[in-house]
Symmetry: none
Subunit: 226 residues, 2 copies
């Protein structure tokens, strides 16, 4: 199953919003809509969509302005921005691309094609960040292979243990509370007892040795380079 993409759609025509929402959701997108372009930016900041689909002509603030704002935001710059245009607005295209829009989609929309096209755009423009391998002293932590090398020795980890070690090792010397760890490795919507972290730490220590993860009592754990 591929990742569920989040789309933010802005259009002042609520019928169009409805059509788009319905179709995208049927194709397994997560869709948020708005009919006020003044809200697009704030909404996008909040939900961090994988793509923004925006009408060019909107009453309160036109799509170009929104696009400019998005593309000048550190956080949203890399979010693909796609314009919805009426057929007779093609002359807007140049302007839009100059602002950094990734694509245009003409109305009327062909529902069947829409989701395919958006997926393609997302895949093309979102560099799937592959988290890099870490080299820390005698350790090399290889994210691709879920493998850790201690000098030449290869040690393999199950998922949770690996993720936990990776989090700690990605900021060596920084103390992570169990809460930190849980929210990063398990996610914010999974509710697991904090003692679970202890057990995983134990297993990691068993494999890499006791000297590389330090307990700060009352605070948490940290990775220290040996």
């Amino acid at each position: 199953m591929s990742k569920k993409y989040k789309i933010l759609v802005a259009d002042d025509d609520s019928d169009i919003l409805e059509i788009i929402k319905f179709n995208l959701e049927r194709n397994d997108f997560e869709v948020t809509v708005t009919n006020k372009s003044t809200e697009t930016y704030e909404l996008a900041l909040k939900i961090r969509p994988d793509l923004i689909l925006h009408d060019v002509m909107m009453p309160d603030m036109d799509g170009f302005q929104v696009c400019r704002k998005v593309k000048s935001s550190d956080i949203l710059r890399d979010t693909p921005f796609v314009f919805l245009t009426a057929r007779n607005e093609e002359h807007h295209e140049v302007q839009g691309f100059e602002l950094g829009a990734e694509d245009y989609i003409a109305k009327p929309i062909k529902p069947a094609a829409l989701s395919t096209r958006l997926k393609a755009i997302i895949r093309r423009y979102t560099k799937e960040e592959k988290l890099p391998s870490l080299q820390l002293g005698i350790f090399r932590i290889d994210r691709e292979g879920y493998v850790v090398y201690k000098n030449e020795e290869q040690i393999s980890f199950p998922k949770k243990e690996f993720e936990l070690l990776y989090i700690l090792a990605s900021s060596p010397g920084k103390v992570f509370s169990r809460e930190d760890v849980l929210s990063r490795v398990w996610g914010n919507d999974v509710y697991v007892g904090e003692r679970t972290v202890d057990v995983h730490i134990r297993k990691i220590r068993e494999k890499i040795g006791d000297d590389y993860i330090t307990t700060i009592k009352g605070v948490g754990y940290k990775f220290v380079i040996g």
Copy 2:
């Protein structure tokens, strides 16, 4: 010791209020409740909660109106607003997000999960300034790692000692009374004898040397740069 969060809860069902209050308080939140949504805004202004948890459907004024009011207030704008919705009200979500709500929580509530989730939301949306490391003469006090460097030597501290040293060192030359120290490190509603501070000071001096914390008799202690 992490900060104690204040939550304002509005719901017309007093049973639910009770359940939520009980559970959050057990998890170290400070909880204020109301069953009149017309009061939410005024109450929020008064107590400045870290998060507002609000039922969508309420008899006197619905949650959306309250949300709009909160989000258009300079003072409360940044307070995370979370809706409580019944399962069959999911279609409200978009509307809520448009108004600026930060999240939704569906009833029936899972008490165990609630506090964790709210904490996560608060942390995500309220930028808590992370306390920086301090560089003072030959000392570097690294808050992230709960470690102090004296020149190149690394000295580790248990929680209380570290916090105490950090407080003193964050205003070098300033004298802190034992009372000051207690309220800042131990918190305001923990009652410990003042002599306890002496013992901690002793242990810190043992580790970093006697010359860096000066006693002002009758007043308190201060950190002096060596």
